[in-house]
């Protein structure tokens, strides 16, 4: 009997599967998450995987959350421990009163286990060895069998799993029956041999609504399709490769001319990141919407070209799916650590536009928006995703598109305008917003041609090394950056129930955990106003938000408080006003972490002096 009361919760717990990379568990585990979703209960799954192909530990976490808290919570309520390598560590991570499901083929001594958890042994290997002869089948069906066990333990809708199996193996129909059989082998074992259900239970609900379940990279790639990208040049790197893969898939689906069967897109797997950004720049210079997808090391390599695109004013879109650095760092772990390297990418004075989606819905929207912004501003635009958003499935609002929307190609002089004799100076600030006009190469036989270069030039694109025109040009680029402040997505502000002296600023994948943390902080008796940043350069409301509060916490997932530095640098704010809350161990930041860090601070700040009674 466990010393802690076994957890008893409905539709609100965390299940974690500990597996070995390459064991084929991913699809079974994902099926588990999806089946819960089909029961109308929101889930937030995360894949925690190593940087190798086979053999190292991998975890898949499913947060079951009727309240729709989609960020990571921290802690595990039910551990499905299938990896002997991490067995001890996995047991240690279970919450008091939690549950352990393990393969009891070779029974462990009781001393292996904690006495404050419920231990459930199933001889999975023995069952598989009895049922199957083929070693690969033994491995693969083991995964389905433990899902079968869970259907009984958690009172899961077994029909939902069967339907998912049928959907997954559609077209390979002969795989359906064996999988369904494996599912029932597990379920029957549990029904006959185990105390079931356990304290953690699933009940059909109606909390999913019309939400969709999609990965951030797939969403961003679809955004690129909707945004009109026709050229994609990329080089493989985790965690961004699946973005290019998804773009390839969506293009094959949505962008093939129905009559000729020809492609209305071009995708090139370049030889490296230098070439991929070079192709993007060449294509964009020539009037196509073009992008690359990469991660931190790729950004490092692209620096020189990004500076050229800034200076030569070429609209490049770069999806940066961030991972933990520096260098190769932890290549399959998440962080928000490339803010500075993207904001100021390249040598010389440069500043770049960045967008910060919080989830796949925004990855889709901003993925499309980035192309309009890049064209309007004629400058590189970074869409700052991270592994947490990019490579995990998220429950998110369905994607929407306004069919009346047409692409905003920005200031492009047409043949007619040139023919009419409009003064064309490539770097003239005609409208005072710092954004000049361009023409696409080949537009007019005698007017509008200009030379693009990384060396300085005058307003008419004529080469010059004179200081005056150089300064004039650099000042105009700053003016353009000012213009960008009002056209990048604005920050969103949510105020505490009662006026608060404290604020918090955060962005991107921190958002879902922050939404939940706010409730926890409130439960500790504190109210806090919040601002979620969605774009860089920062809107003027960032200054006023900081000015309106005594202290503002800046929550981010890196070591050096890069967002805080950017705010200090770009908004001229006294660093003392900004309290860094940092999380950078490679796992997604959790609601508990934020709530504790901010809550502890606020406890101290609101401490009242003891009453003097004498």
């Amino acid at each position: 009997m466990p010393t802690a009361t076994p957890l008893s919760r409905v539709n609100d717990f965390v299940v974690r599967f500990a597996n070995v990379n390459g064991s084929g568990s991913a699809s079974a585990n994902e099926m588990f998450a999806r089946a819960i979703l089909r029961m109308g209960i929101p889930v937030a799954p995360r894949n925690i995987f190593p940087s190798n192909i086979q053999g190292l530990p991998t975890w898949y976490e499913v947060r079951v959350t009727e309240d729709g808290h989609l960020g990571a919570r921290g802690g595990t309520d039910l551990m499905v421990a299938m990896n002997p390598q991490t067995f001890d560590k996995d047991i240690a991570s279970i919450e008091p009163g939690g549950y352990l499901l393990y393969d009891s083929t070779k029974p462990y001594p009781a001393s292996k286990f904690r006495d404050d958890i419920t231990v459930i042994g199933v001889p999975l290997t023995a069952i598989c060895n009895r049922e199957y002869t083929d070693p690969r089948q033994r491995q693969l069906f083991k995964n389905i069998i433990y899902i079968g066990v869970l259907t009984a333990l958690l009172e899961m809708d077994v029909k939902a799993v069967e339907t998912l199996i049928a959907e997954q193996y559609k077209g390979k129909d002969k795989l359906i029956a064996p999988n369904v059989k494996a599912l029932h082998i597990g379920r029957d074992y549990a029904v006959l041999n185990l105390a079931h259900p356990i304290g953690l239970r699933l009940r059909k609900a109606d909390k999913v609504g019309n939400k969709i379940f999609v990965e951030g990279n797939a969403a961003a790639a679809l955004g690129a399709v909707y945004g009109g990208a026709t050229v994609c040049a990329w080089y493989p790197i985790t965690p961004s490769s699946s973005l290019a893969d998804a773009f390839t898939k969506w293009c094959a689906k949505y962008r093939v001319d129905p009559t000729t069967k020809k492609a209305k897109y071009a995708i090139v797997q370049a030889e490296d990141e230098l070439a991929s950004i070079g192709m993007v720049i060449g294509a964009a210079w020539n009037g196509a919407r073009a992008f690359t997808a990469t991660s931190g090391p790729g950004i490092s390599l692209m620096q020189e070209f990004i500076g050229l695109a800034y200076f030569a004013e070429i609209p490049a879109v770069i999806f940066n799916v961030q991972r933990a650095g520096p260098s190769t760092g932890m290549p399959t772990r998440t962080q928000q650590c490339d803010l500075i390297s993207c904001a100021y990418a390249s040598h010389g004075d440069t500043k770049h536009v960045m967008l910060f989606p919080e989830n796949p819905a925004e990855a889709f929207e901003m993925g499309a928006e980035a192309f309009d912004l890049a064209d309007r501003l004629q400058t590189p635009v970074f869409v700052m995703l991270d592994l947490e958003i990019g490579m995990n499935h998220h429950l998110t609002r369905p994607f929407q598109w306004d069919d009346n929307r047409t692409y905003d190609r920005g200031k492009v002089m047409t043949y007619e305008e040139l023919e009419a004799g409009k003064d064309f100076g490539r770097y003239l600030d005609v409208d005072g917003d710092g954004i000049p006009y361009r023409t696409y190469p080949g537009t007019h036989p005698t007017r509008g041609s200009f030379f693009t270069r990384g060396t300085s030039r005058d307003r008419y694109a004529k080469y010059t090394e004179e200081g005056g025109p150089y300064v004039d040009n650099m000042q105009r680029l700053l003016r353009k950056f000012e213009t960008a402040k009002d056209i990048v997505p604005k920050p969103l502000i949510a105020n505490a129930a009662k006026p608060s002296k404290y604020g918090v600023i955060y962005f991107g994948s921190t958002a879902p955990a922050m939404d939940e943390a706010i409730h926890m902080i409130e439960a500790r008796g504190h109210g806090i106003d919040r601002m979620r940043l969605r774009g860089f350069p920062f809107h003027s409301s960032v200054n006023s938000f900081v000015a309106d509060h005594d202290f503002v916490f800046v929550v981010e997932q890196n070591r050096d408080a890069q967002l805080r530095s950017l705010i200090v640098n770009e908004c001229g704010i006294d660093p003392v006003r900004l309290v860094p809350i940092l999380h950078f161990d490679g796992t997604p930041i959790t609601a508990r972490y934020i709530a504790k860090a901010i809550g502890d601070h606020l406890d101290q700040m609101t401490m009242k002096p003891a009453k003097v009674t004498s």
Binding site: V231, T260, K262, M279, G282
Partner: protein, 351 residues
């Protein structure tokens, strides 16, 4: 340094091509390269070739890297769009541009420093992809713009202006281009206009990856093969660095060579190159024979010039990618955006 426009005076009697354009319409601004630089002769040959082909100048995109050679696009086709990109990475910019608009003519101009060292990877990959372009390397064996260091095409054993002996093997970009699958491969000499102009014309007309290596003597920093004046080099070098215009040898080297012959060409510094011009009966459709021929003569210290290889039915990158005929940059929202109806289906499939 400023950027000198050429006077807009057009002599009424200037010959016109079939489009009605004169030679002048194919010129750019005045060159700022050293007087006598081989690169200027190549510029002149490009102008001549485009004039003779009656190309609409504005339908050409001229893209280069960094170096003296890469500056030359400013000096031809003033009415076309040029892009002087970054060191060694012209090929990727050109590839992207070509993907965006398959209807323009792409002229990539680079140097041996630009293409054979920092840019070797991009050189290789754009050829193997079959980008439809004319890729010209203006090959002088040195880094001109950074003042005379060896490039990777410099011969082993040759001596730099500073007196340094090159101990590294040289890269033969023509041999590489043949191996990489370029569908048009040629080498020429900047001073041999009779050979160079038709080769450029043929390269432009070729639908596929055309590579053209042009030996182009550098007035300021030619290799000093066997030079004994090494004591003077530093002083001479300083002079060149600070006052390039004072270099005495200012005339570009010109050459009239009969097909099938070998000519020893003396460069500005007295060093020589042995050029073997292909004979009229050379078979240009055999890739491996071309490679063998090249290497056979290279072993004899000769540089083979002429059109070495053409693939008759070349395919380009657009054919490989099966892209639509309409340029991708001309597709608008209606062509590209699948709209809400498709999104509804997408949403439904993600539940």
């Amino acid at each position: 340094m400023t950027y000198l426009a050429k006077p807009k005076f057009h002599h009424p009697g200037l010959p016109k091509n079939e489009l009605g354009y004169t030679h002048r319409d194919y010129e750019g601004t005045i060159s700022t390269l050293c007087a006598g630089c081989g690169h200027d002769s190549i510029t002149a040959a490009i102008i001549q070739a485009c004039f003779e082909l009656a190309i609409e100048p504005h339908r050409v995109a001229k893209i280069s890297g960094i170096g003296c050679s890469s500056k030359t696009p400013t000096y031809f086709l003033g009415n076309s769009h040029g892009f002087n990109s970054v060191h060694g990475r012209m090929p990727s910019v050109l590839t992207g541009a070509n993907l965006a608009n398959r209807d323009l003519i792409y002229l990539g101009v680079s140097g041996d420093g630009d293409s054979a060292s920092i840019g070797l990877g991009q050189f290789a990959h754009c050829l193997r992809r079959g980008v439809n372009m004319t890729y010209i390397v203006e090959n002088n064996g040195v880094y001109g713009l950074t003042k005379g260091q060896f490039s990777a095409t410099a011969d082993r054993g040759s001596k730099s202006k500073r007196g340094v002996i090159n101990t590294d093997n040289s890269i033969d970009m023509v041999a590489m281009a043949l191996q990489l699958g370029a569908t048009f491969v040629a080498r020429s000499f900047s001073g041999d206009k009779e050979q160079l102009v038709p080769i450029i014309k043929a390269a432009i007309a070729h639908k596929g990856a055309a590579f053209l290596d042009v030996i182009s003597p550098c007035v300021a920093f030619n290799n000093h093969a066997g030079s004994t004046r090494s004591f003077d080099f530093v002083r001479e070098h300083n002079e060149a660095v600070n006052r390039l215009d004072f270099i005495s040898t200012r005339m570009p080297i010109e050459l009239k060579q009969e097909p099938g012959t070998v000519e020893i060409v003396e460069q500005h510094d007295g060093s020589t190159v042995a050029l073997r011009k292909l004979s009229a009966d050379y078979e240009i459709h055999d890739r491996s024979a071309a490679l063998g021929f090249l290497q056979h003569h290279s072993a004899k210290g000769q540089i083979v010039t002429g059109l070495l290889f053409v693939e008759k039915e070349a395919e380009d990158l657009h054919a490989h990618l099966h892209t639509v005929d309409k340029p991708l940059n001309a597709l608008g929202t209606a062509d590209l955006c699948p709209g809400q109806a498709a999104l509804d289906q997408f949403n439904a499939s993600m539940r």
